[in-house]
């Protein structure tokens, strides 16, 4: 008999994060049309299983570094929902007091140290998090989350080499959604083999179904355990799919850069329903429990949105504050 990969506590944690990300992203997608969130916003609808699993596999003191498509890891790592939505509205209660908007979220109090609007920028920075942990003899792990196109940047390779050379406690998580804006990976990369590039840097590379939250969680848990025990870095390639447009709340399959058929196939592999089916069939969580979790999240998200909308803008004098650290 194969043993159950997760227990009820883990199932509950995974489901809570998964649904939190889905509900919040959908809420943003609807509110965005009001044109009051005046910043470029990259939603991760369809890809939620990756950040949810990654966040669940980490301790609060582990580090994570991400991209402009960062709402998922921000929420999964435990960042404040109110502060994130306030940031999207450019309000003083926002994560960075309105300085950075959606693209550069942070939550240092829970280990989310940096996100970047420049593709690939935070991959080496995450390696630096691992270096610091190792130098101080801590057992923290540092995680870099990035898209498939980021592996085309030189820093991806430079970062992997150094992390492997020094056996740093790092996990590289690539969310391969096959597109860089409108360009398919086959027009950008010589082969569809991101996870195999780890081998060239003498480290472990795995490919997982990024819409299967349990698969991502298992791969992540193993990589984290190896990193924490001094075994060095792992590269995880999680294959998934972005449902909405690259940047913004709309649907854009009509532009013709990808087929409606392809999108439909991926949507049938939808991560939330898939996990609901799994946990109920495995009797880890009941349908009632799932509903309760979702209802609580929907309520919490609506409350946070109201808070964000009603909170004040930063004072004009803040323009020139915070350029240098005190």
């Amino acid at each position: 008999m194969t043993s159950m990969p997760i227990d009820t506590t883990q199932a509950r944690a995974l489901y809570t994060k998964l649904v939190l990300i889905r509900e919040v992203e959908e809420l943003i997608a609807h509110a965005y049309a009001e044109q009051q969130m005046r910043c470029p916003t990259h939603l991760c609808v369809g890809q939620e299983a990756v950040p949810a699993a990654v966040g669940t596999a980490l301790r609060p003191d582990d580090y994570i570094f991400g991209t402009y498509r960062g709402h998922g890891i921000y929420l999964a790592k435990g960042g404040s929902l109110r502060a994130m939505l306030a940031e999207l509205y450019g309000k003083a209660a926002g994560v960075t007091r309105g300085k950075s908007g959606s693209m550069q979220l942070i939550a240092p109090e829970v280990g989310f140290l940096c996100a970047s609007a420049l593709v690939g920028g935070t991959i080496p920075i995450a390696v630096g998090g691992g270096l610091a942990a190792k130098m101080r003899g801590e057992d923290r792990v540092s995680v870099a989350v990035f898209g498939d196109a980021a592996t085309e940047e030189g820093v991806f390779h430079e970062a992997m080499n150094f992390a492997s050379l020094k056996k740093l406690p790092v996990v590289f998580v690539c969310e391969n959604n096959f597109f860089a804006v409108y360009t398919h990976i086959s027009a950008r990369q010589c082969a569809d083999n991101i996870y195999q590039r780890a081998a060239a840097y003498d480290m472990h590379g795995v490919r997982v179904d990024g819409n299967d939250i349990v698969a991502v969680y298992e791969a992540m848990r193993e990589a984290v355990a190896v990193a924490r025990n001094g075994g060095g870095p792992t590269l995880i390639e999680a294959r998934t799919y972005r449902w909405r447009e690259h940047c913004g709340p709309n649907w854009d399959n009509d532009l013709g850069y990808r087929s409606a058929e392809e999108a439909k196939n991926w949507m049938q592999q939808e991560p939330v329903k898939r996990f609901e089916r799994f946990v109920t069939e495995a009797r880890l969580l009941s349908a009632d429990e799932l509903r309760t979790i979702r209802e609580r999240i929907v309520e919490e998200a609506a409350e946070a949105l109201t808070f964000a909308k009603n909170s004040p803008f930063p004072d004009a004098c803040e323009l020139l504050t915070g350029v240098y650290a005190p």
């Binding site: 965005y32 044109q35 969130m37 005046r38 910043c39 470029p40 916003t41 450019g90 309000k91 926002g94 309105g98 300085k99 950075s100 908007g101 959606s102 693209m103 550069q104 970047s116 609007a117 420049l118 593709v119 690939g120 196109a149 980021a150 085309e152 940047e153 030189g154 860089a180 804006v181 409108y182 360009t183 027009a187 950008r188 990369q189 940047c247 913004g248 709340p249 532009l255 013709g256 850069y257 803008f313 930063p314 004009a316 803040e318 323009l319 020139l320 350029v323």
Partner: protein
């Protein structure tokens, strides 16, 4: 024959025409052949020229090296970046390699590449998508740096840049993309290294860079109503800088105001002031002034970004001050219908 084209259409036509006449020209960049075609400036090129108009991996530094090599081997590449911020990844190839090749080859080699890049602005583009980095490039011997304002100049300067045997950093501004202007059909060149007087006046000179030229012209209109005559010079090329028209104008008016899209500190506006003062010290009626960005990165929230970008009203206030005038009525911004983080009504988020 000339017709009304947008800035984006003018850029598109420049590339298309040079590709037609010179098989060595090709264009490569992230999104060149995608459905949005770099805000329309590369639309249709793939259909017309096949692989000579191509997308590229997200490898800005490596791909810049690739076009430098192709140029050394006889091609005439054009690269596009949707934001000038992305050129920062390629600074090694641009500054250490492309800019040095001619000199370090004893003048035997040129690197005929054109690097098109767009300065972003508005809708919370923020600190990493709206930098105005022209001063950076203008600092480097071996590079040419152009910043056209009008559709006419965009086309003529882009053709001249592609035909030039040196690396040209061709800097566009996102807020110019939708403006219209008369553009002749066919190939024509606007010479690199020529500033242009775009409005004649006698009381004060505004030397303006890129989009700020439009704000300067708006300011000049407002000031004309108050009886102030402002001359406006569009710098157009930052390197090699054609300072004569600016110096001549300042000699005539005795007053210089510089309007730049970039930061003030160590910025291009300082170079213009220095050139003028070096020539005209003692002849100016008041100290030169600069209107440029405050000393901080771009914030995303409109609450702060609204005070970040100087506008025509700020130029008007500076001019009045330089002339010792108290404006007898407030020069209200006429365009309250459009939010300040958008260039015009056609524009909606997220881009």
């Amino acid at each position: 024959m000339s017709r009304l084209l947008t800035y984006a259409q003018a850029l598109n036509e420049a590339v298309s025409l040079t590709m037609e006449v010179d098989p060595a020209v090709f264009i490569i960049g992230e999104g060149v052949d995608d459905p949005k075609g770099i805000f329309g400036s590369t639309s249709g090129l793939k259909e017309k020229f096949g692989d000579r108009a191509s997308d590229m991996p997200l490898s800005e530094n490596g791909m810049t090296g690739v076009i430098i090599g192709a140029a050394l081997a006889g091609m005439r590449p054009v690269m596009t970046h949707q934001r000038i911020d992305f050129t920062l990844l390629a600074l090694d190839q641009i500054v250490n390699h492309a800019a040095k090749r001619c000199y370090t080859s004893g003048g035997r080699q040129g690197v005929p590449i054109t690097i098109r890049c767009i300065i972003g602005r508005g809708w919370g583009q923020g600190s990493q998508h709206s930098q105005s980095l022209h001063s950076f490039f203008a600092h480097i011997p071996g590079l040419k740096v152009v910043m056209p304002t009008t559709p006419y100049d965009a086309k003529g300067l882009l053709i001249a840049s592609i035909e030039d045997n040196n690396p040209v950093v061709f800097i566009e501004h996102r807020w110019l993309y939708n403006i219209n202007g008369q553009v002749p059909e066919g190939l024509y060149r606007v010479p690199i290294g020529e500033a242009k007087m775009v409005r004649e006046g006698s009381d004060l000179t505004i030397a303006a860079v890129s989009y700020m030229t439009l704000e300067a012209l708006r300011a000049a209109d407002m000031l004309a109503e108050a009886g102030v005559s402002v001359e406006v010079v569009d710098v157009r090329t930052l390197r090699p800088l054609d300072d004569k028209p600016i110096i001549n104008s300042a000699r005539k008016t005795g007053r210089l105001l510089v309007a730049d899209t970039g930061w003030k500190a160590a910025g291009f506006s300082a170079e213009i002031v220095a050139r003028v003062v070096e020539e005209l010290h003692g002849l100016l009626k008041c100290a030169p002034r600069r209107i440029a960005l405050p000393d901080c990165p771009t914030p995303t929230t409109p609450a702060l970004a609204n005070n970040y970008y100087p506008r025509s009203v700020d130029l008007v206030a500076a001019v009045c001050d330089m002339l010792g005038m108290k404006p007898d009525r407030p020069f209200a911004q006429a365009t309250t219908a459009v939010p300040l983080d958008l260039p015009d009504k056609l524009f909606t988020g997220p881009f």
